[in-house]
C-alpha cells in the first residue's frame, strides 16, 4: 500500500516528547469494496489535548481508530502515531497507545483485577510494577471494591470504568477512547470526563470518539465533526460555534400576554425577520433574527410591559452543528 519507506518506522520511540503532534493522519482512506468508510481524512492531535471525533453512528470513527492502531490497513493515505507508521510497525504503536474499544469487553470468568493483570503481562510490565499500579487504577476509576469480583457481576458502567483502568495499565502517552460514556449514568459521565481531562493535563494526547456530542463537547479542546467518512468541520468549539452562529438564529420567547402585543413589540426590534407561534406550545413565540438579539428583545419587552418569562436561543452553539450535520446524515450511515 502507499506507505513511505521510513527507516524510523521500525524503531520504538524513546520517552515520547510530551508536546507537539502525537497523532497525524494525511489523506487517510478506507474502502470496503465500493463503500468508502473513511474518505481522505486529515487529522492532527497534540499532546495535552483532547480531540473529540464527533459523529453519528456509522460515520467511520471506529474504522479510523483501527487504522491509527494498525489493526486495519488504510486503502490510501498515511497515519503517524508518535512518528511511527501503524501500518508498518503496529506493535510499536500499540505499546504506547491505550485504546478502549466501543462496547469494551472483558473475560467474564476472571475478576477485574485478573483482567488488568493480563493486560499488564501482555505489555510486559513486571509484576512488582503492575500490582501497585493496578491497585491505584482500580481506585482511580472508582471500582476498588469490585476489583476482586468476577467481571460477569459488573454493570455496564463498571465495565466501562474497568475499561478506562485497562487503558491506563500501560501508562500510554496516547489514549484513544471509543464511546467512553455511552453506558455510564450522568454522574459517572462527569467523573469519567474529569478523569479524561486530568489525563490530558498530565500530557497525554487523547482522541475521544463519540456520538454523544452534548456529553463530550465540554471536555474537548478541539472537535472534529465526522459524518459519512468525511471530516466536515474541525476546530475549537468556540470557532465551530461562531461558524454555526453566522446564519439566522432562532429565539424562543414566553412573555406576559396578550400574545399579539408581545408580537408587535418583538417585531420592532431591529434584526428580527420573522415571528411565529411555536407549533407545540401556543404560548411561545419563535423569533427568527439575523443576529443575536436577545438583549434587545428583553429590553424591548420590559419597556412594552410584557416582561419575558422565558428567553432562550434555540440550538445554542454546537447544538446547531449537531442539527445541521448529524440529523441530516443520520439516515445515511451504514457502518457502525
Amino acid at each position: 500500500m502507499a506507505v513511505a519507506e521510513a527507516p524510523a518506522a521500525e524503531s520504538v520511540q524513546p520517552a515520547p516528547p510530551r508536546t507537539g503532534v502525537a497523532i497525524r493522519a494525511k489523506g487517510l482512506t478506507k474502502k470496503y469494496g465500493e463503500f468508502t468508510a473513511v474518505d481522505k481524512l486529515d487529522l492532527a492531535v497534540n499532546h495535552g489535548e483532547i480531540y473529540g471525533l464527533l459523529g453519528p453512528n456509522g460515520a467511520g470513527k471506529t474504522t479510523t481508530i483501527l487504522m491509527l492502531l494498525g489493526l486495519s490497513e488504510p486503502t490510501a493515505g498515511t497515519a503517524r502515531v508518535l512518528d511511527v507508521d501503524p501500518a508498518r510497525n503496529p506493535t510499536g504503536v500499540k505499546r504506547q497507545v491505550g485504546y478502549m474499544p466501543d462496547n469494551v469487553g472483558f473475560y467474564s470468568g476472571l475478576t477485574g483485577r485478573q483482567n488488568l493483570r493480563y493486560t499488564a503481562r501482555l505489555n510486559r510490565i513486571p509484576k512488582d510494577v503492575a500490582e501497585p499500579r493496578i491497585d491505584g487504577l482500580l481506585a482511580r476509576v472508582g471500582i476498588a471494591d469490585a476489583g476482586d469480583k468476577k467481571v460477569d457481576t459488573y454493570s455496564r458502567g463498571m465495565r466501562q470504568r474497568l475499561g478506562l483502568a485497562d487503558v491506563l495499565v500501560k501508562e500510554p502517552s496516547i489514549i484513544i477512547l471509543d464511546e467512553p460514556t455511552t453506558a455510564i449514568d450522568p454522574a459517572g459521565v462527569d467523573e469519567v470526563l474529569a478523569l479524561v481531562r486530568q489525563l490530558a493535563d498530565e500530557g497525554a494526547a487523547i482522541l475521544l470518539a463519540s456520538h454523544l456530542l452534548h456529553q463530550v463537547q465540554q471536555v474537548c479542546d478541539r472537535v472534529g465533526i465526522f459524518v459519512s467518512g468525511k471530516l466536515v468541520a474541525s476546530g475549537t468549539t468556540d470557532k465551530l460555534a461562531a461558524q454555526a452562529g453566522a446564519g439566522p438564529i432562532q429565539i424562543e420567547i414566553i412573555a406576559a400576554p396578550p400574545l399579539d402585543q408581545v408580537r408587535q413589540a418583538v417585531l420592532k426590534v431591529t434584526g428580527v425577520t420573522n415571528v411565529d407561534i411555536d407549533t407545540r406550545d401556543k404560548h411561545m413565540l419563535v423569533v427568527t433574527a439575523n443576529r443575536d438579539v436577545r438583549a434587545d428583545l428583553a429590553r424591548a419587552l420590559v419597556e412594552a410591559g410584557h416582561p419575558p418569562y422565558h428567553l432562550r436561543r434555540r440550538g445554542d452553539e454546537l447544538d446547531e452543528i449537531y442539527r445541521r450535520y448529524f440529523v441530516a446524515n443520520d439516515t445515511a450511515g451504514a457502518m457502525s
Partner: protein, 363 residues
C-alpha cells in the same frame, strides 16, 4: 486490501531477526536499548507465550477440563480393568510373552463388550480437541475482548498460535493424566511392570495421539475463526467428527462396492475382492481416525506387521515366523500414517491461521 496491517511478514521477520541477533552478549543497538527500556523486563517474552499461559490456566480451571478428564479416566479404567481381568486368565499361557503390558491398552478386540482403551481414545479424542478449540476465536469476539486484546503490543498471530499451544498442552495434560491412571491400574491388576520397549512405544503412541487430537483442535479452531457463533462452530465440528468416526466406514463401503463391485461367488482371495478391499482401505485413509487407528494398532502391538492384515493372503502368510517387531520397524510401517496426521494438523491450523489473519477486527 485483504492482508491486515499487523500481519506484514517482512516487518515481523526483521523484528525476529533483531531479537535473535541480540543475544545477551550481542552489542546493543540503540534500538534494542530502547526496546528494553520500554519492555522494562529482563527478557522480552513472546506474545504467544503470554496468551498460551493465560489460556492454559483458563482451560485447566474450567469445567470442561474436569469433566473430560473424569470421563476419559473412567472409560480408560473400565477398559483396562476388563482387559486386565481377561489377561490374568490367560497369564499362565502367556508367561514369557513380551509386551503383555501393551495388551492392556490395545487388546485388539472388545472384551465382555468393553472396547479397548485405544478405541475410547480414537472415538473420544476428537471431542477433546473440539472442546478446547470450538470457541477459541469467536468466544473472544462474543465477549468483545478481541479488539482490546489486539490493541496490546502483540502480533496478531500470537493470538491464534497461543490458543493452539494452550489447547494442545491441555490435551496433552489430560491424556498424560489418563494414561498414568490407567497404567497404574494395570500394574496393580496385572502385577507386571512395563518394559523399556513398552514405555518407549507408549511414548511414541502418546505423541501420535496428541498429533491426532491436535488435528481436531486445529479443525475446531478453524471453525471458531470462520463461524461467528460458538454454538454453530461446535455443531459443525461435532458433525464432521460424527461423520468421520461413525458413518465414514459405511460410506466408504458403499463407494467401494459401486466403483469396484465384487462378484457374489468370488472367494476371499480373488482379485475382485482384493481390489475392493484395497480401495476401501485407501478411501478410509482419507479419515484421520482411520490413519490413527492403523498407526495405533502397529505401535501398541509389536506382533502386527502390517496395517492391512485382511489383505495378507495365505500364501504370503505361510512360513512366517511369529515374533515381535522392534520399535524402529513398527515406526517404519506407520511412518506414512504418522506424517499424514501431522500434515493434516498443520494444514488445518494453517487454514485457521490465514483466515484469522485476514479477518477484520470488527465483525
Amino acid at each position: 486490501m485483504t492482508g491486515q496491517a499487523d500481519a506484514i511478514p517482512a516487518a515481523r521477520r526483521r523484528k525476529r531477526k533483531n531479537l535473535r541477533a541480540q543475544g545477551p552478549d550481542a552489542p546493543r543497538t540503540q534500538k534494542a536499548a530502547v526496546a528494553d527500556a520500554t519492555d522494562s523486563g529482563p527478557r522480552f517474552r513472546a506474545g504467544w507465550r503470554i496468551i498460551a499461559a493465560k489460556e492454559f490456566a483458563d482451560h485447566v480451571g474450567s469445567w470442561r477440563f474436569a469433566i473430560l478428564t473424569i470421563v476419559l479416566a473412567l472409560a480408560g479404567a473400565a477398559a483396562v480393568y476388563t482387559t486386565a481381568g481377561a489377561i490374568k486368565d490367560l497369564a499362565p499361557a502367556a508367561s514369557g510373552n513380551e509386551s503383555i503390558f501393551l495388551l492392556l491398552f490395545a487388546p485388539g478386540q472388545s472384551i465382555n463388550n468393553v472396547p479397548p482403551f485405544t478405541s475410547f481414545i480414537t472415538f473420544l479424542g476428537p471431542l477433546l480437541g473440539i472442546a478446547f478449540g470450538f470457541d477459541a476465536i469467536n468466544g473472544e469476539r462474543s465477549e468483545a475482548t478481541l479488539p482490546r486484546l489486539l490493541a496490546q503490543p502483540i502480533y496478531r498471530d500470537d493470538v491464534v498460535n497461543g490458543k493452539f499451544v494452550a489447547g494442545l498442552s491441555a490435551i496433552a495434560l489430560i491424556l498424560a493424566t489418563v494414561m498414568f491412571v490407567v497404567s497404574a491400574l494395570g500394574v496393580i491388576q496385572l502385577g507386571i511392570l512395563p518394559g523399556a520397549q513398552d514405555i518407549l512405544r507408549l511414548l511414541v503412541w502418546f505423541i501420535l495421539t496428541v498429533a491426532y487430537i491436535g488435528f481436531w483442535l486445529a479443525f475446531a479452531l478453524l471453525c471458531s475463526v470462520a463461524l461467528r457463533r460458538a454454538a454453530t462452530s461446535a455443531m459443525l465440528a461435532l458433525g464432521v467428527w460424527l461423520v468421520l468416526s461413525v458413518f465414514f466406514g459405511l460410506i466408504v463401503g458403499v463407494v467401494a462396492n459401486f466403483v469396484s463391485p465384487v462378484d457374489p461367488d468370488a472367494t476371499a482371495q480373488s482379485t475382485d475382492t482384493i481390489a475392493n478391499l484395497t480401495l476401501q482401505d485407501n478411501l478410509s485413509r482419507l479419515s484421520p481416525n482411520e490413519l490413527y487407528t492403523e498407526a495405533t494398532s502397529i505401535m501398541l502391538n509389536p506382533r502386527l506387521r502390517t496395517v492391512t492384515p485382511d489383505l495378507v493372503t495365505s500364501d504370503q502368510a505361510t512360513g512366517t515366523v511369529p515374533g515381535l517387531m522392534s520399535l524402529e520397524q513398527s515406526m517404519l510401517v506407520i511412518w506414512p500414517q504418522f506424517v499424514t496426521i501431522i500434515a493434516g494438523t498443520m494444514i488445518a491450523f494453517g487454514v485457521a491461521y490465514v483466515s484469522f489473519m485476514r479477518q477484520e477486527v470488527r465483525a
